[in-house]
Amino acid sequence: MNSIIELNSIDKSFLTDEVETLALSSIVLTINKGEFVSITGPSGCGKSTLLSLLGLLDTASQGQFVLNGQDTSELSKNERAKIRNKEIGFIFQSFNLISDLDVYENVELPLTYRKDLSEAEIKTRVNDALAKVDMGHRNKHFPSQLSGGQQQRVAIARALAGSPSILLADEPTGNLDSKNAQMVMDLLHALHKEGATICMVTHDQHCADSASRRISLFDGRVVEDTNLSNQAA
C-alpha cells in the first residue's frame, strides 16, 4: 500500500523529577496517503505526544518509525529539520504564529528555511497558500490584529505553503468558537478532498467523527481504530 507512516511498537517515556511517565506504549500504527485520521482520547492520554513523534518533534524511547519508507532513527538533527520543513505541516491548538512577523512573513517562514527556492517562487507559494485560506487580503497584518479564527487560518496557510505530504493538527479548533471551528474543519476537509493526508488530534466528538478514520487512545495505548470513510461527509 501507499503508507506514509509506519509505527512499530513505539514507546515514549518522559523523565521528570526522577519520575518516569510512560506517555505512549507499544503503539503500532500505519497511515496511508490520503487518509484523514482523527485521534481522540481523554486529556493526558498521549495524543499530543504521538503527534509530536509523527512530526519528528521528538524521538521515541523504543520502537521503529518509518516515514515515507525511511527509518527515522537514522536521521541526523538537520535531516529531521529538513523533513519537517518539506514533508510535514503543523497546525497547533494555540496557532503558534510569531508575533513579530506579519501574516505574509509568518507564512513565508518555512520556505525561507529552504535554500533552493527563488524569491518569486516563494511569493507565489505564499500567496497561493493565503488565497486557499482566504486570508490574502491581510498580508500586512500582525497576528495580534487578527481574530482567533483568522490566526488559525494563517497557521494553516503556513502549514500548506511548503506543500507537505502530511498535515499534523493538534486540536486545531480547541481555542476557537464553534463558527470559527466549523470554518477550520471545512478547510481541512477541502484539503483532504484535494488529496492531503491529515492527522488531527481532537476532543470534539463531532470533529472526530467527520474524519475518514478515528483512532482512540487511552493511557498511552491505542484502544480503538475505526474506518469511517463511508459515513463521512
Binding site: 519537517r84 494555540s94 503558534n96 481555542n175
Partner: protein
C-alpha cells in the same frame, strides 16, 4: 504594611541565590559610589567651618594664558586693592617656611606673612592672646628672601603651642627667634586653624608703599571675600579692567599678565577639577550599570511571577498592592546592599586616608570618615537606586495585559515592549561599559606612562633637605657659597654618602620661574619667555647623572668676579637657537633692568623634568647659574647613597649641625618619595580606574549575559515553532546574531564616541592619552562584542539542546 514587609522578606529568603547575587552587586556598586561621592563631595563641595566659605575667592596671576603660574605682583595687588568694589575683603599673603628658635632648639614650620583681616576671614580666633591688628603692620612690603625686615610679633598655631611650648599658658609675651630675628608671641590660634593651607606660624605682612611699578618684583597670593550680591564673573570682570590698565601702563612687566578669580571651592580642587568630573562621570556610569543589572534581575523576577500576578488581578487583587509588594522587595534588597555598601565605603575611605594626606592642597582640612554628610549622601544614593531598580518591574507589572498573559496565542518575545526593553537594556549595558572601559584603559596606560616617565635623571638613593641661611652670618653669595661648599665637603667624608650637592631647587621640588631676556633677539611675543631658574653647585649635573650635551659644566674658574655664566637646558637652546649653537650667547634674568648682568651661555644640559611628568609641565625649559656667582638664602642639600636614603637622615642632620649649629635642616625627603608624592593623585586615579575597569567588565558581562539569556529563554517557544517549521540550529543562531547585531552596533558606537569625547577632554590636561585611544578602543570593542556574542549563543545552545517538542511545551 508590616505584613507586606514580612511577606516580601519571606519571598526573598525563598530565593537565596537571587537575593545573594543582587545584594552583592548592589553592595559593590553602592559601596563604590558612596566612596566616590564622599571623596568628590569632600574635594568639591564640603562646607568648611569658615564663614561665607562659598564667597571666598582666590585671585591668581595668569601669565601667558596659563593660570596659577606665579602670584600677583605686590604692586598690582595694591593697585587693585585701592580701586576694587566687588569684594568685602581683599587680602594678600605669602607662604613661607619659618624657623622658631629659643636659642637651644630650632624648629622649622610652614608659615605665612598675612594681613590682620585674614584671621577672621578664615573663621579663626585667638585661643590665647590676640590676633594681629593694623598697627602690627608697618608701611613697607617685606622682602621675603633677600632682605628680611620682619615685624616683631608672631602668632603660633595650637599645634605649635602644644608641641614647642608644651601648652605653656605663659607663652604670650615670650620672645622667640623667627628665622633668626627676635619676635614676641602675641597669640595662639584656635585648634585646627591652618590658614591658608597647613600653616602654623604667622607674621604680619607689610604693605609696600615703595613697591616700584613695572619691574615685576615681589609677588603675593590674594584671597578675597565677595560682597554678598556680587557674582564671581562680575568681580572677575572688574579685576580684568585693572589688569588691562596695568598692561597699558607697564607693558614690560604686565604684557600677557592678567588675573583669574576662582572661588576657594574651585581652588581647593586646583587642576583636579578635571579628575573630579572624570570620577563623577565614571561613578555615575558604574552606578547606571549596577542599576541596569539589578533592575534586570528584579524584572526577571517580576516576569517569572507575571502569570501569578495576572491570575491575582483577574481575581480582583488591586494592582497597586501588587506593585507595592514588588517595590518593597526592591527596597529591602537595596537597604541590605546599601548597608554593606556603607561598610565597604567606610573601609575604602580608611585605607585611602593616608594617600590623600600627601596630596597637599587643603589636605589638613579634609576629614576622611563617614560623617553625617557622607551618610546622607549614601541615603540619597540608596534611595535613588531603589527607585530606579524598582521602576522597571513595577512599570512592567502595571502595563501587562492580564488577558494576554493568561492566554497568549502567539509565540515570540512575550510582547513588543518587552523586546524593546531588552534592546534598550542591552544597548545601555554595552555603551556604558564600552565608554567606561575605554576611559579606564586609556587612563591606566596614561598613568602608567606618567609613573614610568623618564625624568632625565637618576632619583634612586637621593636624600634631600632644605635649609635657610640666616642673613646676619650669611649676607652675600660668597659666604653662602662657602657654607654650601663646606657642607658638601663634610658630607662627602661621611661613610655611606657617595656624593653630595646643593641647589636652590631640585627636580620634583618646586622652583620658581623667571622671565628671560635674550641679547640681540627681538621679542616676538611682547612677553619674555619664562624658564625655571636655579642656582646650583658645580657638581649638580654630575650628581644627578645628567649629561652636558654641548659646552661645559661649571667649574672652579666660575668665580664671583669672573665672567657670569649660565647653563641652559636642551629645549631652551632648541627653541631659541634651532639652527645654531647657543654657546657664547647671552641672556639676562631681569629683562630691561640695566643693573642685571648678562649671563654667557657656557653649556647645554640634557632636559630634565622639574615638576610633574604630565601635560605641558614636563617640557618646560630651565636655566642654571653657579652658586659661586649667585647664592640665595634658601637652598636644598642632597646626598646620594646606595643604602636606603632614610638611613642617612641622622648623618645628614648631625653633619649639618657640625658645620653650623644655627642652620637646621628641615623638610627631609628621599627624592623618589618626593616624585611619587607629586604623582600621588595620579596613582590614586590610576588605581580607581583599574577598579572601575574590572568592575564594569564584570557587571557588563554578567548583565549582558543575564539579559540575553532571559531574552533567549523567553523565546524558547518561538524557537520551537521555527524548528517545527524546519529551521536548523544554524538558522536560529543566525537569526539571533542578526537581531543582536543592531543592539551590539548601537551600543558599541555610542560607547566608542562617548569614550572618545572623554579621552579628548582629558588628553593634554592631565596626561597624554589620545595615543592609546585606537588600540584600547579596538580591544574594548572586541572584548564586549565577544562577550555579547557568547551571551547570545550560550543560552541559545542550551535551548536548542531540547527537543523541539519540549521547547514548544516550554512555559
Amino acid at each position: 504594611m508590616f505584613r507586606d514587609i514580612k511577606y516580601a522578606w519571606r519571598l526573598l529568603l525563598k530565593t537565596p541565590s537571587f537575593t545573594g547575587i543582587t545584594v552583592v552587586v548592589l553592595a559593590i556598586g553602592l559601596g563604590l559610589s558612596i566612596y566616590m561621592f564622599s571623596i568628590i563631595n569632600m574635594l568639591a563641595y564640603k562646607q568648611l567651618d569658615i564663614p561665607h566659605y562659598e564667597r571666598l575667592v582666590m585671585v591668581d596671576a595668569v601669565v601667558d594664558g596659563m593660570e596659577n603660574q606665579g602670584n600677583v605682583y605686590a604692586h598690582d595687588y595694591d593697585y587693585m586693592k585701592q580701586r576694587q568694589q566687588s569684594f568685602a575683603e581683599f587680602s594678600a599673603y605669602i607662604s613661607i617656611s619659618l624657623s622658631l628658635s629659643n636659642g637651644k632648639e630650632a624648629q622649622r614650620y610652614e608659615g605665612a606673612f598675612i594681613e590682620p583681616k585674614a584671621f577672621s576671614l578664615f573663621g579663626g580666633h585667638a585661643h590665647l592672646g590676640r590676633t594681629f591688628i593694623d598697627s602690627d603692620v608697618k608701611k613697607a612690603f617685606i622682602d621675603t628672601e633677600r632682605n628680611p625686615d620682619h615685624s616683631d610679633v608672631v602668632i603660633i598655631s595650637y599645634q605649635v603651642w602644644q608641641d614647642y611650648y608644651n601648652k605653656n599658658k605663659d607663652v604670650i609675651g615670650k620672645t622667640v627667634q623667627v628665622n633668626g630675628k627676635v619676635h614676641t608671641v602675641i597669640g595662639v590660634m584656635n585648634e585646627g586653624f591652618a590658614y591658608p593651607r597647613n600653616q602654623s606660624v604667622w607674621v604680619p605682612i607689610k604693605v609696600a608703599a615703595n613697591q616700584k611699578a613695572g619691574q615685576g618684583g615681589w609677588q603675593v597670593s590674594i584671597v578675597a571675600q565677595l560682597k554678598p550680591n556680587i557674582s564671581l564673573p562680575a568681580a572677575q570682570q572688574e579685576l580684568m579692567t585693572y589688569s588691562k590698565e596695568l598692561t597699558a601702563k607697564y607693558p614690560e612687566s604686565n604684557t600677557n599678565v592678567s588675573v583669574h578669580s576662582r572661588t576657594l571651592v574651585q581652588m581647593m580642587m586646583d587642576n583636579s577639577m578635571m579628575i573630579v568630573y572624570l570620577l563623577t562621570g565614571a561613578t555615575i556610569f558604574i552606578m547606571a550599570l549596577v542599576i541596569t543589572n539589578v533592575g534586570n534581575l528584579m524584572l526577571a523576577r517580576a516576569m517569572e511571577r507575571s502569570k501569578e500576578v495576572a491570575i491575582r488581578s483577574a481575581l480582583g487583587a488591586p494592582r497597586s498592592r501588587i506593585i507595592r509588594q514588588m517595590l518593597l522587595e526592591t527596597i529591602i534588597i537595596c537597604l541590605i546592599g546599601g548597608f554593606f555598601g556603607v561598610i565597604l565605603a567606610g573601609w575604602g575611605l580608611d585605607i585611602t586616608r593616608p594617600l590623600f594626606q600627601t596630596f597637599g592642597i587643603g589636605a589638613s582640612w579634609w576629614t576622611f570618615n563617614l560623617g553625617a554628610e557622607e551618610l546622607a549622601i549614601a541615603a540619597w544614593i540608596i534611595f535613588f537606586t531603589s527607585l530606579l531598580t524598582g521602576l522597571l518591574p513595577a512599570i512592567k507589572a502595571s502595563n501587562s495585559d492580564i488577558n494576554r498573559t493568561l492566554r497568549d496565542g502567539t509565540r515570540g518575545a512575550k510582547s513588543k515592549s518587552s523586546a524593546k526593553l531588552t534592546k534598550v537594556l542591552v544597548s545601555s549595558e554595552i555603551f556604558l561599559s564600552c565608554a567606561l572601559l575605554i576611559l579606564a584603559g586609556v587612563m591606566i596606560f596614561g598613568v602608567n606612562d606618567a609613573l614610568n616617565a623618564d625624568y632625565g635623571f637618576k632619583s634612586k638613593g637621593i636624600l634631600s633637605a632644605r635649609f635657610a641661611l640666616n642673613t646676619d652670618d650669611y649676607k652675600n653669595t660668597v659666604t653662602r657659597n662657602l657654607y654650601h661648599q663646606r657642607l658638601i665637603q663634610a658630607l662627602m667624608k661621611e661613610p655611606g654618602i657617595e656624593n653630595a650637592t646643593s641647589a636652590s631647587a631640585l627636580p620634583g621640588r618646586s622652583s620658581g620661574r623667571q622671565s628671560i631676556q635674550i641679547e640681540d633677539m627681538a621679542n616676538q611675543d611682547k612677553q619674555y619667555p619664562r624658564s625655571y631658574f636655579m642656582t646650583i653647585s658645580k657638581n649638580y649635573f654630575e650628581f644627578l647623572g645628567v649629561p652636558i650635551l654641548e659646552g661645559r659644566a661649571f667649574n672652579d674658574n666660575d668665580a664671583i668676579d669672573s665672567l657670569p655664566v649660565v647653563i641652559i637646558s636642551a629645549n631652551f637652546a632648541k627653541k631659541f637657537w634651532p639652527n645654531s649653537s647657543a654657546i657664547g650667547k647671552r641672556i639676562k634674568t631681569e629683562p630691561n633692568n640695566p643693573e642685571s648682568e648678562w649671563l654667557t651661555i657656557v653649556g647645554i644640559s640634557k632636559h630634565l623634568i622639574h615638576s610633574q611628568p604630565f601635560g605641558d609641565e614636563q617640557f618646560r625649559p630651565a636655566i642654571y647659574v653657579p652658586n659661586s656667582q649667585l647664592a640665595y638664602q634658601y637652598q636644598y642639600i642632597a646626598i646620594k647613597t646606595s643604602l636606603d636614603p632614610y638611613q642617612l637622615q641622622k648623618t645628614l642632620i648631625d653633619t649639618a649641625a657640625k658645620v653650623d649649629s644655627n642652620i637646621p635642616l628641615y623638610n627631609m625627603f628621599s627624592l623618589s618619595d618626593r616624585l611619587e608624592h607629586r604623582v600621588g593623585a595620579m596613582v590614586f586615579v590610576g588605581k580607581i580606574f583599574i577598579i572601575f575597569g574590572a568592575l564594569s567588565l564584570i557587571l557588563a558581562a554578567a548583565g549582558i549575559y543575564g539579559i540575553m539569556s532571559r531574552s533567549v529563554t523567553q523565546r524558547t517557544q518561538e524557537f520551537g515553532v521555527r524548528r517545527a517549521l524546519g529551521a536548523i540550529d544554524k538558522d536560529i543562531y543566525q537569526l539571533l546574531l542578526k537581531q543582536g547585531l543592531t543592539m551590539l552596533f548601537a551600543g558599541i558606537s555610542v560607547g566608542a564616541i562617548l569614550g572618545y569625547l572623554a579621552v579628548n577632554m582629558l588628553s593634554g590636561v592631565l596626561l597624554t592619552l589620545s595615543g592609546y585611544y585606537p588600540a584600547v578602543t579596538i580591544a574594548v570593542l572586541s572584548t564586549i562584542s565577544v562577550t555579547f556574542i557568547a551571551a547570545t549563543l550560550i543560552p541559545a545552545f542550551k535551548v536548542l539542546k531540547l527537543e523541539p517538542n519540549s521547547a514548544l511545551r516550554y512555559e
